[in-house]
Symmetry: C2
Subunit: 143 residues, 2 copies
């Protein structure tokens, strides 16, 4: 019988809505993005996540995730785009899966705010590789 994985922590953790809100770093986001309720799973789990609020027009920089990322759209309307692909629109209740190592950005639509809950698995301690920012022309679908 295989040995079961053991966790050092056996307590359920509740992170309350709006807890530990910080601003998204200027280098990685365009617009005044707020990140809240960050949490991290206990090993041997690899997951961690947070809730991210984007005002209309705000978006991430281009980036990749070593083991992919899941977005649950809480409210509003937004876009996701894979490099070389079309902008795709999403709304509340939609679930977005971005596969490992796919270069992409996501954010609010131009005229509507958007909130998503985002989780990703860490590989060697890393959940994201940040790249260049999304230009206004790229965001508008013109580049």
């Amino acid at each position: 019988m295989p040995e079961k994985p053991m966790s050092e922590n056996v307590e359920i953790t509740l992170s309350r809505a709006g807890a530990a809100t910080t601003g998204g770093p200027e280098a990685y986001f365009t617009g005044r993005v707020e990140i809240s309720t960050p949490y991290k799973g206990d090993a041997p789990a690899r997951i961690s996540g947070a809730t991210v609020s984007f005002p209309a027009g705000a978006r991430t920089a281009w980036h990749t995730h070593p083991l992919g990322q899941t977005l649950y759209i809480v409210s509003g309307k937004g876009w996701v785009q894979k490099e070389g692909g079309p902008r795709e629109a999403f709304g509340a209740g939609d679930v977005v899966w971005i596969p490992p190592l796919v270069k992409h950005w996501h954010g609010a639509a131009a005229d509507t705010a958007m909130v998503h809950f985002a989780v990703a698995e860490a590989l060697d301690g890393s959940v994201v590789t940040w790249l260049e920012k999304v230009s206004d022309a790229q965001y508008a679908g013109e580049a």
Copy 2:
């Protein structure tokens, strides 16, 4: 330099709100629970998930997850309980982390419906081990 993980799929997947809705199996849920927008990450990611809607009074059976589970509370009010611990109340925007192998249940409050988005990592192809159902006395916090 370590070899990077490769995924066979490089397409972003959008699962639309309410897609592929099914009823939660009688053996694993009490009440008329609906499961929608199931998705599964691409290897080497381990994640999969779904959105689960509980009417007032509905709940899961007791269960464990080999690598834990994350709940994002979309709407309403609910409870989570670790075996031997108190019922803990949660509401919209809260994030619940259940560590690996912790026996627990979660569901709606007695008088309020609840919707959560749930994700978990698979270990050897398994994301959950189902156990006995939660009795009315256990649900009421009386057992």
